[in-house]
Structure formats: structure tokens, C-alpha cells
């Protein structure tokens, strides 16, 4: 009953299209993330679901009911705000009790539900505290308790962990996940942090320029990005230009501009012929010196290209190599430092990069989001 559905939802601000005709169904009880760079429209989408922005067109359904024109205070939806927005003139207890008082729940019931909720968020006995006596992490929990105590059909979270330091963030991610499982309420979580989204969500919608680039389970979105933008935004990835040569049953062949022909499952090609971009994640690539090719048992796959090492960066657990192929494309490779191959490949050495066809994906060559891809590849590399 608490399924949420968006139909052609659109929001225009003066000249810009913040949210562009999006359709979405979030099933009951899911932890759903809206992921995207700042300005992609994810917060606007959330605010429309919450009732704080009026859609320019389109509709929002909550459990089958059209709530598009319902004001925020009549929607069975609660929000955890980015800034928490706790009432500074009320103590913790009265902050959490605020929603129940508006619903005219009787005092004894309010007391019980507030106290249960404070236990759930690990703040038992903090009721009489003032908000400014609470740390950032504690305030975050108060904000969560204040929203959840109303037993909403859907909980909206607008980058709720953005203000916390890294350690607390990781802790709160697990905590949020635990609470979500315990209460079983649908969570819609807005974030620009791809790791956070992948760690917590059942499903992710990757958003860019007001539209969804891809919607799917976290693993699927990572393994098989549908567009160059998703590939670059969700983790690091290498994209190589190529021409489709044709399909042979379930397997397709693509001739890379870098000089070799590689294989991948035919179903992954966005178009049956013409130009495509072939993608592979850095951790899926095996790297070895050019001469030793062919004989190694460690050979990870049948797809292979020749390249030259530009830079190698030792990071303890792993070494990352930045290589360039014969056509000048850059390829990043992560290698686990397992001790066996202690001799790092020096910059300038010729190498053979190989990977399995199963780990290969393809995106459209001339997708409109290529600019975003370049920008995001950098971001992907740093996280």
C-alpha cells in the first residue's frame, strides 16, 4: 500500500528544467537511493514527493492515491532534512513529539511512542536535553526519530549524513540500514555519494540533468552501467571506442580503435552496428608485461589490448596503473598487491591488458552525457 509512483513528474524553474518528465516506481519497504551530482534534480524530486515544491506537471501517487495537490502537512510522508531542521526552542522529547501532537494523539500514547523511538535511535534518556546540547550525530538521530515516530508510509532523507565526519558517517550508514530493516518503512534517500548509495540501497536511480540515466539494483547498476555517465559516476571505469563487427549467437565482436577485437555478450550492445564505447572496470583488468603474453595461467580473459604504462601508484593494498593504448585512450588498472608479482611494472613498459568478456559492458558512443562522463571520471578516480 505504501508503494510510491511518479508519472511524468516535471519541475521547471524560470528557464531551467530541474526535473524532466521522470517515471518511477518504488516498492514498499525498499531502501531506494536517488544518486547524482549536485544540481541533477534529485533534491527537487524529493521535495516534490514531500510536498514542498509544486510539480510543473506530472503526478505523484502514494499507495495508489494521487497526492500531487495535497499540501505537505496532509501527506503521510516524513522527511529528514539535510540541515536536520530541529526546533531549537524545544527539547529532544518535544521535537520528537511534535508530529504526534499535531495528530492529536493522546498524551500517554505520545509519551510511549516517543520513548520507544528514542530507544530505537539509541538516545534513551535524552528527552529533556536541548538541541544545542547534542552533537551532530545525535542531532541526526533526533531528526530521524522525529520523522519515524509518525509511522509514515515513506521516509524521505535529503543527504542526511552530509554534515557528519567520515567515521560517524560510516557508522550512521549501518545504523540507518538497521533502523530501516527494523521499521520496514520505504526509505527514499538522496545522496551524491556513490559509495554511500551502493552500500545502503536495495535499488538506485542515477540521475543527471533532471532525468534518470539508469534505475536498478545497486550491483546491476555497477556491473552493467547503461550510459557513459553512469559508468563514470558510479565508481571508476575505462571507456574505449570501437565498431561493432557483428554478433555470433549470444556473443558479439567489437573492433577497438586501440587495435584488437574483443568479445562481449551481445545483449549488452546498445546498438547492433556502428560505433559504441566499450567499458571495463579497473579492478577487472589483468596486467602483465607484453612479452609474457599467452602463457600465463593468470590470464583473466580473452579480451586483450596492448598498452604502455604511464604512471604507477602504489597505495599499499593495491597498485593502480595508468596506461595509454595505441590510439591514445587512457586505461586505469587496479592490481591487488598479493606479494607474488613483486616486480612492479615501470612507467614506459609495454603491457598486455586482458579481461573477461563477461566483465565487458557497452554504452552508446554519442550519448548526450559525454561531458558529464569526463567530469565524473575524475571524481570516480578520486573516491
Amino acid at each position: 500500500m505504501a508503494e510510491i509512483r511518479l508519472e511524468k513528474l516535471t519541475k521547471e524553474f524560470k528557464e531551467t528544467l530541474a526535473v524532466d518528465h521522470i517515471d518511477l516506481v518504488v516498492e514498499e519497504g525498499q531502501f531506494f537511493s536517488l544518486l547524482g551530482p549536485s544540481g541533477c534534480g534529485k533534491t527537487t524530486t524529493l521535495r516534490m514527493i514531500g510536498g514542498f515544491e509544486d510539480p510543473s506537471s506530472g503526478a505523484i501517487y502514494l499507495g495508489g492515491d494521487d497526492v500531487t495537490d495535497l499540501p505537505a502537512y496532509k501527506r503521510n510522508v516524513n522527511t529528514v532534512f539535510q540541515s536536520y531542521a530541529l526546533f531549537p526552542h524545544l527539547d529532544v522529547y518535544n521535537n520528537v513529539a511534535y508530529g504526534l501532537k499535531r495528530k492529536k494523539v493522546d498524551q500517554a500514547d505520545i509519551k510511549k511512542r516517543v520513548e520507544d523511538m528514542l530507544v530505537l535511535v539509541d538516545l534513551e534518556g535524552y528527552g529533556p536535553r536541548r538541541i544545542n546540547q547534542m552533537s551532530g550525530g545525535q542531532q541526526q538521530r533526533v531528526a530521524l526519530a522525529r520523522a519515524l515516530v509518525n509511522r509514515p508510509a515513506v521516509l524521505l532523507l535529503d543527504e542526511p549524513l552530509g554534515a557528519l565526519d567520515l567515521k560517524l558517517r560510516n557508522q550512521m550508514q549501518l545504523e540507518l540500514k538497521r533502523i530501516q530493516r527494523e521499521v520496514g518503512i520505504t526509505f527514499i534517500y538522496v545522496t551524491h555519494d556513490q559509495e554511500e548509495a551502493m552500500r545502503m540501497s536495495d535499488r538506485i536511480a542515477v540521475m543527471n540533468a533532471g532525468r534518470f540515466e539508469q534505475v536498478g539494483a545497486a550491483q546491476d547498476v555497477y556491473k552493467l552501467p547503461a550510459t557513459a555517465f553512469v559508468a563514470g559516476f558510479l565508481g571508476a571505469s575505462n571507456l574505449l571506442d570501437g565498431e561493432v563487427e557483428g554478433a555470433d549467437g549470444s556473443s558479439a565482436k567489437v573492433a577497438l580503435a586501440a587495435g584488437s577485437t574483443i568479445a562481449l555478450p551481445a545483449a549488452r550492445l546498445p546498438n547492433e552496428r556502428g560505433s559504441v564505447r566499450i567499458g571495463v572496470r579497473p579492478e577487472k583488468i589483468f596486467i602483465e608485461a607484453a612479452g609474457s603474453s599467452g602463457g600465463g595461467t593468470e590470464n583473466r580473459g580473452d579480451n586483450a589490448i596492448e598498452a604502455m604504462v604511464d604512471i604507477s601508484i602504489y597505495t599499499g593494498v593495491s597498485t593502480s596503473y595508468e596506461c595509454s593504448t595505441t590510439d591514445g585512450s587512457k586505461v586505469v588498472v587496479y592490481v591487488q598487491n598479493m606479494g607474488a608479482s613483486a616486480d612492479a611494472l615501470a612507467p614506459g613498459s609495454k603491457v598486455r591488458l586482458s579481461w573477461h568478456p563477461e566483465h565487458t559492458f557497452a554504452v552508446e558512443k554519442n550519448s548526450s552525457t559525454e561531458g558529464g562522463d569526463n567530469e565524473m571520471s575524475d571524481r570516480g578516480g578520486t573516491t
Partner: protein, 291 residues
């Protein structure tokens, strides 16, 4: 101002250890502060003191001896027309404070949260009553009332007081509303509060200290005003008008006593507002462990 004084002694590089130099100039700031506070409070102290004076003649300008007899209600209220003036002043003060605080607060809210046509003009226009000379405003108002055939009196005093008080209320309340976090109102709506409930449970309690300060200021301005009132009073007498009239024949100590009592009420009002502000969570919080 304080920084001005602080920087002076640091200019010449004094010889000797740092501590000694600091000790030497340690008296400057307290002394300076004391002088300024004395400057602010001496007139009030004199007013209070001469309420306890027993003047020899009609003029209460010279200390003759201590007495509390002016605080005796019989003596305090012995001038009928002074009582009338006090009553008028208080009534005018309360009415114009109430009206100007309500309208001024609403204007302040509108100015800080809505972008509307003429907003910049209104912002500027509100400063005009504060910036223009009172005499000019007084004359202008009188001309207006006369040309509209309105008899000057109690009502015209209230109208003129509301007029100049509103500007001060807007400026004072705006200081509070401009820093207001709108997401608090979103949060209230999110939790099921309709706009009316949101205003009374979230917006109003949070801007209340500003409104309280503004109303205090408006009341003080209204009770205090002489110039504009004198042009528009007609036959109505307020405290400043009565005192000014009496000053030619000698101001009786009762005026000092009335002034002292008014001052006392003001002090209590301020203390209450400070105390409320404290309770609203302005107290620095003790460090709390994260987590």
C-alpha cells in the same frame, strides 16, 4: 570602540617581558568601560536621586535633603493634570506599541521571505521616518490633519506615534527574521502542522525575542516623544508636554518619581526578555561526546 583603545598601547614596542606589558595595560579596558557606563547611567541616577530630594523652593535642581515622601501615593498623585498626562502617555504608548509591533513584525516577515514588486522601495522607504527630522514630520502631519479637517488630539497622537514606531519595529524584527531557517517551517509542515499552527508553534516562538525587543523600543519612543506630539496633540497632554510646560515654573519631584517608576518597569521588561532569551537556548552548551 574597545578595539581602538586596545590597539593604542601595542603600537610602541614596549621593552620587558610580555607579561609585564600585559599587566601594565590591564587597567585600560576596565576603566574605559567604566567611564562609558557612568556616562550612560549618570543622568538616570540623577533623575532617581532627585526623586528623593526635598527641594527648598519650587526648583528641584539642588540637593537639600533626603525624603521618600514623594513616593507616598497622596503626594505622588497631587497634580491632577500630571496624572492625566501619565495616563494619556501610558495609553498612547500601549496602543501605538501594539499596533506598530503587529504591523511592523508582519512587514519584517514579508520583507525577509518574499520577493515582491516594490520590495526594495519599501525597504528604503522604511528608513525615511527614522532619517527625517522630527520637526519636519510633526509639521507635515499637522498640515495633513488640518487639510483633512481632522481635529488633533488623542487619536492623531496615536496615528503619528504608530507611524514613526513602525520603522523601528521593522528594523528590529528584521534582524531576527533574516537569519530564520526556513527549513524549520518545512519541518513543521512535514510533521503535519498547517500554516497557522506552523506560525504559532515554530515561527512565532523563534522570532519572539525580536518582537519583544521591538515592542520595548516602540513603547519607549512613544512615551518619550515630544516634538511630533506637540504638533499633533490638540488639547491632549502627555508626560513630555506636561514636563516641558512645567519646566518654566519648576518641575516638581513627582516627575522624577514617575520617571523612576517608568524606568523601573522598563528594566523589569528587559530583564524578563533577557531571561526568556536565555531559556530559548542561547546558553552555551557543555561539550558532549559525539556518537
Amino acid at each position: 570602540m574597545a578595539t581602538q583603545v586596545e590597539t593604542k598601547p601595542t603600537a610602541p614596542p614596549a621593552p620587558g617581558p610580555h607579561k609585564e606589558r600585559r599587566k601594565k595595560r590591564a587597567w585600560i579596558l576596565p576603566t574605559y568601560t567604566g567611564v562609558i557606563i557612568a556616562y550612560l547611567f549618570i543622568p538616570i541616577l540623577v533623575m532617581i536621586m532627585f526623586g528623593f530630594n526635598e527641594p527648598a523652593g519650587r526648583y528641584n535642581f539642588q540637593w537639600e535633603g533626603f525624603t521618600t515622601k514623594w513616593y507616598n501615593p497622596d503626594r505622588l498623585l497631587e497634580f491632577e493634570d500630571l496624572n492625566e498626562a501619565v495616563k494619556n502617555s501610558l495609553l498612547i504608548g500601549v496602543i501605538s506599541t501594539f499596533v506598530s509591533t503587529v504591523f511592523g513584525s508582519l512587514i519584517a516577515l514579508a520583507l525577509t521571505r518574499h520577493r515582491f514588486r516594490g520590495r526594495a522601495g519599501l525597504n528604503l522607504g522604511l528608513f525615511l521616518p527614522m532619517a527625517s527630522p522630527e520637526v519636519v514630520l510633526g509639521v507635515a502631519l499637522l498640515a495633513l490633519f488640518v487639510s483633512l479637517n481632522v481635529n488633533t488630539g488623542f487619536v492623531t497622537i496615536v496615528i503619528s506615534h504608530v507611524m514613526f514606531c513602525i520603522s523601528y519595529v521593522v528594523v528590529t524584527v528584521k534582524a531576527r527574521t533574516s537569519g530564520f531557517d526556513r527549513s524549520l517551517e518545512d519541518a513543521a509542515k512535514d510533521l503535519g502542522a498547517d500554516p497557522w499552527t506552523t506560525f504559532w508553534t515554530v515561527t512565532f516562538p523563534l522570532i519572539f525575542p525580536g518582537i519583544l525587543a521591538a515592542s520595548l523600543l516602540a513603547f519607549a519612543l512613544s512615551v518619550d516623544d515630544y516634538v511630533i506630539t506637540s504638533f499633533n496633540a490638540g488639547g491632549t497632554v502627555t508626560i513630555p508636554l506636561w514636563v516641558y510646560g512645567a519646566s518654566r515654573i519648576g518641575v516638581p519631584p513627582q516627575v522624577n518619581v514617575m520617571g523612576t517608576l517608568l524606568f523601573g518597569i522598563g528594566v523589569i521588561y528587559v530583564l524578563v526578555s533577557i531571561f526568556r532569551g536565555r531559556r530559548q537556548g542561547a546558553v552555551p552548551s557543555p561539550p558532549v561526546k559525539a556518537g
